[in-house]
Amino acid sequence: MNDMSNDSYVTDDGRTIGPTVMEMKNITLRFGGVKAITDISFDIREGEIRAIIGPNGAGKSSMLNVISGFYVPQEGEVWYKGAKRPPMRPYQVAQQGIARTFQNIALFEGMSVLDNVMTGRLRQMNSGLFAQAIWKGKAEKEEVENRAFVEKIIDFLEIQSIRKTPVGRLPYGLKKRVELARALAAEPSILLLDEPMAGMNVEEKEDMSRFILDMNDEFGTTIALIEHDMGVVMDLSDRVVVMDYGKKIGDGTPDDVRNNQAVIDAYLGVAHD
């Protein structure tokens, strides 16, 4: 795999990976005197599954928060779809087509699964407050269209049986799936997953892996994910960025990364200066 070139290529399993859609250039993020991220650059290409891994405290979630606009880095540039992105609010980033899930689930607990997923369609609803209130014309048409789209996602993630269940009553594994559904409902051009498998048992992990692969395959969604489970990361992703103490220590295909001495040291542990 050639990281330098920006040409499309076809993977061994027949998926087309397009040109770079997002590029992080020399990102540095500080909290007061603490450097969370130091001078990190990498890119995300269209249609790929890109993983960010690293030990605890390596700065993975901070990186994801930079991408989603939650943090604004002190140094460095974020390039999205060929243009430099000015500092933005998270909702503006979302409007650009970047959706995310959270490490510690952030759903509306009192609302049903269906309503939660519908909120993911907010970006696609333009009718005015008045039209929505009387639910006529455009508002009605929009709701029907969006509901149809949401139903496709409910079907896709196999959560039909909990459609009308309040999220608060669901077990953890299903909440994760609902969160994924909401992110997917936004038809994102990049989907950010923050530890999608955390706290899941083997079977749930397998299901989630299958959903991630199928999502990428069916909808061509570009996915950037953070994950601790190395087995999962190596199986799922096309390319992996490895972080340690806020620095990038490796970048490449799962095989490259697996044989990278710096990565092995970070995971197995060596004395740090």
């Binding site: 399993d13 079907d155 039909q160 049986s161 299958r210 199928d214 395959d217």
Partner: protein
């Protein structure tokens, strides 16, 4: 697998019952013409196959709903006219793909309209549909697909496709696979793999080319053509392929529809496995015969919600479904407010008293009727609606024994729940309970056109138009099951009750023995009665060739543990709880109650339990004491616990024993225990001698 085991008492068994007891000739309104057509179908060739019925329905019920499936949160609907078009497109596509007459086509998936259409499309082109359980492991599929030599398979999704790809190398004859759900399959090699909608599209495109061929093939179908092949689950040995002809299916569907007055207005929910003969008869046989609508749930998990939304008028469920629903109701009532709970208990008490009688049309006083009406408005109606039974006109349960209390609960609510007894080999129906003659302990009278006789050993034999053609490629088994005159051995022992003419089933014929005095020993009969108590999980009765019977009992840890918790009874282990004096006392009470009810029947009164013990360990499949499907292996238990059986017959009041156990990781260990042997009161059986 489709077998009813019930608890009943035994009177004199008539050796042969030559005539059907009862026939219902009340055809659904507007249906007499079709009846006549069907009866002369051999002569006219008119309605002698399922595809022929489809064409009739497409004309007669063109705009009536035939199939519904909930997808994307909405019930998608197909009328009979739509259905015919869908099936024709698929049939043409199959011909286009190269399907020949006589080919076998495996159909593997959960209940969806597409699979029902696949079966009828297969029949239309002269092929034989073979529905396979969709949860089968690939080895089981390998056996079935290899045994029938299936060349094609129509499957649901990636999961099934993967299973077949795994075994494809060993299936020499296998050619093409068609899948419904393309998800995850885009990158697969599509040389032998096709998407269902593409096959249909190809069929539509090539209509001019193949329609004459299709019509010719359809025209060749007769009453004796194979309609479907169903594999029995086979508790012993390999599954057997039961071949059913159009005659079997159509006659059974016609008779049973008339028996229960089923008409085109019925709604059913198709949720039981498609490879099971019952689903084939309900969702294809009867649906095509009467033209009623088959509803498919959105997914297996949404079945209960979908049931409620559809509100079927004709419903079938195995006893465990009714049990689970009842348990859920009870748990939710525990959590309900005080007023609701008191209202529920009050009116359920009344329903228990008069509900069944009202349903059976027996005389009930005006005041009781009025109170029942009020109860219906306040409790029964809303409850039935919540359960999805608000519109059920005919409901059946079968397959295994249903607890009388569970059965009565549903009936007292006004749900016409009945029992039937059937087998794959009979195209389901052997006996069924007519309206108004329903009881928990019988399986009803012979179904229309079914003759039944009882063999010398008590085994039930039947002969009917539904009797299967043969076991595919297995003449030995066919010959040992069906004799030259067409009588089929059920393997179950039973008898006809005097007076009512209802069949009662006692046990598997091979398990029925004789006691020392020559009276009948029917262990399952007594064990089932014991198992209806929630705190008894398992029971094993001994007494073959002996003067009296003794029993082992396993307590149900969940129920008894719960009871102990509520009564502040501390216990450290299963063993300790099983030996607790209060537990023994309550079990003794159950045993004595069972003895009383067994004694009612002179023929079985000898099976009363004289002594029993509560086992110190749960019978377990890992220790070989049970099958994986949780059936007790009688001989092994008798052998392994020989010391305990001897002690029970020996008359001691306690016995020490040591038992080998296998842990889940395969290690062995042993547990020792001192068990109390209890005496149970028995009802004197002087009447038995008189009956002999």
């Amino acid at each position: 697998m489709f077998r009813k085991k019930l608890t009943h008492s035994l009177k004199q068994a008539p050796l042969e019952v030559e005539e059907s007891f009862r026939r219902f000739w009340l055809a659904p309104a507007g249906f007499r013409e079709e009846d006549n057509l069907a009866q002369s179908s051999q002569a006219t060739g008119g309605l002698s196959s399922i595809p022929a019925l489809l064409q009739r329905n497409a004309t007669q019920y063109a705009t009536k709903d035939a199939y519904r499936e909930k997808e994307f949160g909405i019930w998608q609907t197909w009328t009979w006219a739509d259905t015919e078009k869908e099936i024709e497109a698929l049939a043409l596509g199959l011909i286009n793909l190269g399907v020949q007459e006589g080919d076998f086509i495996a159909v593997i998936g959960r209940n969806r309209p597409y699979f029902y259409w696949s079966m009828v499309a297969a029949q239309s082109v002269g092929a034989v549909p073979v529905p396979v359980y969709n949860d089968s492991a690939s080895e089981e599929m390998e056996y079935i697909l290899g045994h029938c030599g299936a060349k094609y398979a129509i499957v649901e999704d990636q999961e099934q496709v993967d299973k077949i790809i795994d075994i494809q190398d060993s299936l020499k004859q296998f050619e093409h696979m068609i899948y419904i759900d393309p998800r995850g399959l885009r990158k697969y090699d599509h040389h032998q793999l096709h998407e269902y909608s593409h096959i249909q599209a190809q069929g539509r495109a090539a209509r001019d080319e193949w329609i004459t061929d299709l019509e010719a093939r359809r025209g060749k179908l007769t009453y004796d053509s194979i309609c479907v092949m169903l594999y029995t689950s086979g508790t012993t040995g390999k599954p057997k392929g039961v071949v059913l002809s159009n005659r079997n299916v159509i006659e059974s569907a016609k008779n049973s529809s008339e028996f229960d007055n089923l008409g085109a207005g019925e709604e059913i929910l198709a949720y039981l496995p498609m490879a099971w003969v019952g689903d084939f008869i309900f969702s294809i046989g009867q649906a095509y015969w009467t033209g009623f609508c088959v509803n498919c749930p959105e997914s297996a998990e949404t079945m209960m919600t979908d049931l409620r939304e559809i509100g079927p008028t004709y419903y079938f469920a195995p006893p465990r479904v009714f049990e689970t629903q009842l348990t859920n109701v009870m748990i939710r009532m525990e959590d309900a407010g005080k007023l609701k709970r008191r209202m529920f208990l009050h009116f359920m008490e009344h329903a228990k008293k008069v509900g069944g009688d009202i349903l059976d049309g027996k005389p009930v006083s005006f005041m009781d009727r009025l109170k029942y009406k009020i109860g219906d408005f306040l409790v029964y109606g809303p409850l039935k609606d919540t359960l999805g039974f608000g519109r059920v006109r005919v409901g059946y349960t079968a397959g295994e024994a249903i607890g009388p209390e569970i059965f009565e609960f549903y009936r007292s609510l006004g749900i016409n729940l009945k029992q039937l007894y059937g087998q794959t080999e009979a195209t389901v129906f052997i006996t069924a309970q007519p309206d108004g003659e329903v009881r928990a302990d019988t399986v009803g009278v012979p179904s229309p056109d079914v003759e039944i006789k009882i063999g010398d050993n008590g085994e039930i034999y039947y002969r009917s138009p539904g009797v299967f053609v043969e076991y595919f490629n297995n003449p030995e088994s066919t010959a040992s099951t069906k004799d030259a005159e067409g009588w089929v051995a059920t393997g179950d022992a039973g008898f006809f009750e005097e007076g009512s003419g209802h069949l009662r089933i006692i046990d598997r014929a091979k398990d029925v023995g004789k006691m020392a005095d020559g009276s009948m020993f029917a262990p399952k009969y007594v064990e089932n009665k014991l198992k209806f108590y929630p705190d008894i999980l398992e029971a094993v009765l001994f007494g073959n060739g002996k003067d009296n019977c003794v029993a082992f009992i396993n307590i149900d840890l969940t129920a008894v543990g719960n009871w102990a918790e509520r009564n502040n009874i501390p216990y450290a282990s299963y063993q300790e709880l099983a030996g607790h004096p209060q537990v023994l006392q309550s079990i003794q009470g159950h045993v004595e109650k069972v003895n009383e009810s067994v004694a009612v029947d002179p023929m079985l009164a000898g099976c009363q339990i004289h002594r029993f013990l509560v086992l110190h360990k749960e019978l377990d499949a890992d220790d070989g004491e049970m099958t994986r499907t949780r059936k007790v292996r009688r001989a092994i238990v008798a052998d392994k616990f020989k010391d305990l059986v001897d002690a029970l017959y020996g008359g001691a009041s306690a016995v020490s024993t040591e038992t080998e156990v296998t842990y889940e990781d395969g290690r062995k260990g042993s547990i020792s225990a001192t068990l109390t042997l209890c005496d149970a009161r028995v009802v004197p059986v002087a009447s038995k001698v008189a009956a002999e």
